[in-house]
Amino acid sequence: MKAHLTRRYMFSASHRLHSDEMSDEENQATYGKCNNPYGHGHNYVVEVTVSGPVDDETGMVCNLVDLDGFVHNEILERYDHQNLNQLPEFAEKVPTTENLCIAIYDILKRGFQMAHLDKVRIEETMMNSFEYWGDS
């Protein structure tokens, strides 16, 4: 029987929303205070949802130790206490939470094989959240 398991994680990072394809005025109009050249930070909450049949022997969709280990090594280590703009995946992309969702989804999709990845949901603040389910 198939079930969906969701795990929440947290990391803190800074970013600046700025596009080189726009003029300074356009950047300011589009991103407002998020365009501050010195950047600003958030405590991001990342929810990872995976699914699959519940294994008869373990009662699990996947072992949480495996999921936690992967997320810790590949995602939290990568993003926690970093400036997102400095990372290669945001060299040419604005580090909006939409793009962060896609980047984290891609890391999981590529590297985590223990269960089917349903979605990545990120809370940038308590008041806004973003989800990415993949392109298909």
Binding site: M1, K2, A3, H4, L5, T6, R7, R8, Y9, T49, S51, V54, E57, T58, G59, M60, V61, N63, L64, V65, H116, D118, K119, W133
Partner: protein, 151 residues
């Protein structure tokens, strides 16, 4: 179609152990959850039902009836219990959060007569929860993403 969710809480203890595994395998697979004396959680249960809004009452479901069924079938059986020893389903199944969601679905589904069960969500902690949509939800698409269909 309108979806309605009711929450409830229960506190229970459990441990993870498969009698077909060796002690070493049990320890490797289940880690500290394998402690035979058990450990506990404050679980939060969310039950979502769906249905058409009754034109006379304006209700999808009689909330009083839903609350009674949840209390009788789940909370009375699970709250302040040692799941492995006091809930019959877990004499033969490991009381993981996945299996809790499935067992709760199986207890509730036949008892709800005014609305259809859509989802059972069980939080083991605020940072870990499992969703179960029943066996018939996915049809031929075995990896259909449930949330997409809700959107």
């Amino acid at each position: 179609m309108v979806y309605l969710t009711r929450k409830a809480e229960f506190s229970a203890s459990h441990f993870y152990h498969n009698p077909r595994f060796t002690p070493e395998e049990n320890q490797r697979v289940f880690g500290k959850c394998n402690n035979p004396n058990g450990h506990g959680h404050n679980y939060t249960l969310e039950v979502t039902v769906k249905g058409a809004v009754n034109p006379k009452s304006g209700f999808v479901v009689d909330l009083k009836q839903l609350k009674e069924v949840m209390s009788r079938e789940v909370l009375d059986a699970f709250d302040h219990r040692f799941l492995n020893k006091e809930v019959p389903e877990f004499l033969t199944r490991i009381p993981t959060t996945e299996n809790l969601a499935i067992v709760i679905w199986q207890r509730l589904a036949p008892k709800l007569n005014t609305a259809q069960l859509h989802r059972v969500r069980v939080y083991e902690t605020p940072d870990l929860f499992v969703d179960f949509y029943g066996e018939d939800f996915y049809g031929e698409d075995s990896h259909g993403d449930a949330g997409k269909r809700e959107a």
